[in-house]
């Protein structure tokens, strides 16, 4: 009749003793342990739409071009394309490919592989979400809609084995960014035809990047091994073990017990403590957090009310509370991107805000606290409603905004949260009749698809599906459209300044709060790692200098 606790204890000890001497997997300088965070939903470039999948794909596949993350303005540098020409006033892009790039099975990478990949993305049967990346290309949209069946009419062409040509509908200045997208990595038609959906399994996949996929245990771990056929400079790491540990505190424990070398997310509560160690790294991210205003719903249909709201927020207080090192901003285009202008947008100015409330037609009533009544109808200023998707940080922000607007402006706000998909549904649903939508304000963030301001500015055109503010301004629309195609940098920045001024000040359709910061931890023995605003991880640029006895 042994006691169970004793029994457990004995089992525990015997196993630990047994194992502590044996296979405590030896750390070498060849293998890096990395936490991906989650299972990549798909390693098929045409289907992947999330950052985790893309992180892996970027290490498996080399594209026409890529960003140099060591340059501050993220210069586009050649990869498989050794050079490119832009002709016909920016309408035709001709890429000349290297002829020494090999697939992992030894075959050469050709322009046809690119043509196949680009075609596959817009093929209706692929049903690729990111097909719209290519909608600037001649007839690409019609092909995707099934209106054109003949692919030769689409402006995507492999002229010969090493010349790949793209013809646009009309010139757009950001198009070169498209050539870096991992969604457009070259693909092998024969492999995909042979294996179908299973072609991304480690036994079947054929890639051309610095690493190859050799093992994939779903929801647990995948192994990248150095591609010895790689045409570029060989990386020092022979192997990268990527784990999919979702729970951040578990990942941190494993990091602290040397089971992981790099973690790319840190539990918020641990940040104040970890911040003091040299292993903690933080950097800004091309991503802006903003409050959207439902400009059709009273009382926010009055621009002066919106201006008043925008100028009574202390953003520093919010970012300090979040503790993540986010950078307060009053403008939309994020720090680190062309057109970033921190002077735009309203800053905290309570007197000005109250002035605007008066302009909006409200009378101030002094009591213990400020309150407002409409000067004609004498009705009190109504309670406004803010919705957010259920999440700790959003909750903190919502509660703080609630407190600040109450204190600074005397406006009462109700807050409500919804599960993510329900929330998206509410935002979409408000388009049918914004006046009666059950909310005045909402939160969203935007991650750059590519580091070009157009990616942010075109969100708020009157015809954008992503514009849930129901605001439209033809001047803003035309400025954004024009800036899209202008190649001259100063002119372009000037146009974006004007457009942002309309969006943030004249009409105040959104209130940006901060530029996201992201955190990572890596040990001293990890070399070559750097924070970058795209949160990219190129494993061929990393190496290890472990203290091995």
């Amino acid at each position: 009749m042994k006691k169970i606790s004793h029994l457990l204890f004995l089992v525990l000890i015997s196993f630990t003793l047994l194992l502590s001497c044996s296979s405590r997997s030896k750390l070498t300088n060849d293998t890096l342990y990395f936490n991906l965070g989650t299972e990549p939903p798909s390693l098929d470039p045409s289907k992947a739409t999330d950052t985790t999948s893309n992180l892996v794909i970027e290490n498996l596949m080399d594209n026409l071009t890529d960003y140099d993350i060591s340059t501050p303005d993220l210069k586009i540098v050649p990869k498989v394309a050794k050079s490119w020409k832009i002709t016909e006033g920016g309408k035709v892009y001709t890429f000349t490919l290297r002829d020494d790039v090999l697939w992992t099975d030894g075959k050469k990478v050709t322009a046809q592989d690119f043509e196949y990949s680009w075609r596959r993305l817009i093929e209706p049967a692929t049903a690729a979400e990111y097909a719209y990346f290519l909608f600037d290309i001649k007839n690409a949209k019609a092909f995707n809609e099934g209106k054109i069946k003949d692919f030769s009419k689409v402006g995507i062409k492999a002229i010969n084995d090493h010349t790949f040509q793209i013809t646009l509908e009309s010139p757009v200045s950001y198009f070169l960014h498209v050539s870096t997208f991992s969604s457009l990595s070259p693909l092998r038609k024969d492999v995909i035809d042979q294996w179908g959906d299973r072609w991304t399994d480690p036994e079947h996949i054929v890639t051309n990047g610095p690493f190859k996929l050799t093992h994939w245990k779903h929801d647990y771990q995948l192994t990248l091994e150095r591609n010895e056929n790689y045409y570029g400079a060989k990386g020092k790491l022979k192997k990268v073990e990527c784990f999919m540990i979702v729970e951040q505190s578990t990942a941190l424990s494993l990091y602290q017990t040397r089971k992981l070398d790099i973690i790319t997310q840190v539990p918020t509560l641990d940040i104040p403590k970890l911040k003091q160690t040299p292993e903690f790294h933080s950097g800004n991210f091309l991503s802006t957090y903003y409050i959207g205003l439902n400009t059709k719903k009273a009382p926010l249909n009055n621009p002066y009310v919106r201006k008043a709201l925008a100028s009574s927020i202390n953003r520093n207080q919010i970012t300090e509370m979040l503790q993540k090192g986010d950078i307060p901003t009053s403008s939309l285009i994020p720090m680190g991107m062309q057109g970033y202008n921190p002077d735009l947008g309203y800053k905290l100015n309570i007197e000005q805000a109250q002035e605007w409330m008066k302009k909006a037609g409200y009378e101030k009533k002094e009591g213990n606290t400020i309150s407002w009544v409409h000067s004609k109808t004498k009705e009190p200023f109504p309670t406004i409603t803010f919705i957010y998707n259920t999440n700790e940080a959003h909750k903190t922000i919502a509660e703080d905004l609630q407190a600040q607007w109450k204190k600074n402006l005397g406006i009462t706000m109700a807050i409500d949260n919804q599960e993510w998909k329900v929330y998206n549904n509410s935002l979409q649903g408000s388009h049918t009749s914004p006046e009666t939508a059950p909310f005045h304000l909402f939160r969203l963030g935007w991650n750059a698809d590519y580091p070009d301001p157009d990616n942010f500015m075109s969100l708020f055109t009157s015809y954008s599906d992503n514009n849930h503010t129901h605001w439209g301004n033809s001047k803003f629309d035309s400025l954004t459209e024009k800036a899209k195609v202008i190649l001259d940098k100063t002119k372009r920045v000037d146009m974006y300044n004007k457009a942002q001024k309309i969006l943030l000040e004249e009409d105040t359709a959104i209130i940006p709060l901060y530029v996201y910061a992201h955190q990572s931890m890596w040990r001293d023995e990890v070399k070559g790692a750097q924070m970058n605003p795209l949160d990219r991880w190129y494993f061929d640029q990393l190496w290890l200098e472990r203290n091995i006895k």
């Binding site: 004793h6 502590s20 049967a125 979400e129 719209y132 979702v246 494993l254």
Partner: protein
């Protein structure tokens, strides 16, 4: 006996069918779909995606077909019919989240891991059974299995054995026994606790029973009385709940698998819903139901073996 099992399996078919239909309905009234994101997808692309997964079809009744007088299409050209047709052929469909993977693949990848962990947890149970039944220390261990949420149990174990003592890894699954110990204890504690408590109550009941009194009066050896009459008969209520318990252990615990980063099936019970991965929701529901039904049949068979008063019918 075989007849009984076959009969029970046969009766279960309508249960599975109703369950599948019910799940299908609940899923469709849940707001948000598998491809809804914060980033708007252009309508033409959305149309392609919906066409690919038959999501462009009406859910249950195809009214346009009705007006076109294509009577048979009214019921067949629907999402429900497509799904049920696949299901009848044993095809659980493609996942809407893990593009390119089938639900069957996902279940086949993750279920064995949960079963393995469940097996270890069941070993604890067996060890417990053989060694003790009215032990106070065991009761106390058992009590913490019912009184603490499992994430607290996991946190406690990690804090003591991984952080403070640095004996065992704080997570991960592959690579040696050391990785299995903490999750096994964390998962096994609760069933052990439930069964220990149930045994206690049911033994108290049985000890008072007439036949035990008779056995004692006959002057039988006390140990014999306990083993032969008390333990055997108090097992009956334990067996009753062991069906759901077994199914529960096999399908794992979300918390344990999440905290220890174990690639089991339990996470899909939650993530499939947050992702609105319709086919995966259906898949895990059906897997759970089938496991439960099998476990219950086993329990009934076992029941009949332990208690001669019960006949399989």
């Amino acid at each position: 006996m075989l007849l009984f099992i076959l009969k029970r399996l046969f009766i279960s078919i309508p249960v599975i069918f109703i369950l599948a239909t019910l799940t299908f309905c609940i899923m469709r009234v849940t707001p948000g779909g598998p491809f809804d994101k914060d980033k708007a997808i252009p309508p033409e692309i959305k149309a392609n995606i919906e066409a690919k997964y038959h999501l462009d079809k009406p859910t249950f009744i195809n009214t346009p077909a009705f007006y076109k007088k294509k009577w048979i299409h009214v019921l067949t050209e629907t999402q429900y019919f497509y799904y049920m047709k696949g299901l009848a052929q044993g095809d659980l469909g493609p996942s809407y989240k893990y593009l390119g993977r089938s639900v069957t693949d996902i279940i086949l990848d993750s279920l064995p891991v949960s079963v393995e962990l469940g097996f270890y947890a069941a070993l604890i149970l067996a060890a417990y059974k053989h060694n003790t039944w009215i032990d106070n220390a065991a009761m106390f261990t058992a009590i913490s299995g019912i009184t603490l949420p499992s994430f607290l149990v996991a946190a406690l174990l990690i804090y003591i054995f991984s952080i403070k003592m640095a004996w065992l890894p704080a997570g991960l699954w592959d690579g040696g026994w050391e990785y299995k110990i903490l999750p096994t204890i964390a998962l096994g504690l609760r069933p052990v606790a439930i069964i220990a408590r149930l045994m206690r109550t049911s033994m108290l009941d049985v000890i008072k029973a007439d036949y035990v009194r008779t056995a004692r009066a006959k002057g039988l050896n006390e140990v014999w009385v306990i083993l032969k009459h008390v333990v055997k008969n108090s097992l009956i209520p334990v067996i009753t709940i062991s069906g759901p318990l077994l199914a529960g252990i096999i399908t794992g615990s979300f918390v344990i698998e999440h905290v220890f980063a174990i690639p089991g099936i339990a996470k899909h019970f939650i993530l499939a819903v947050t992702n609105r991965d319709y086919t995966l929701i259906m898949g895990v529901t059906l897997v759970y139901a089938v496991l439960l039904i099998i476990a219950n049949i086993l329990v009934d068979v076992f029941y009949a073996l332990v208690d001669p008063r019960i006949k399989l019918s």
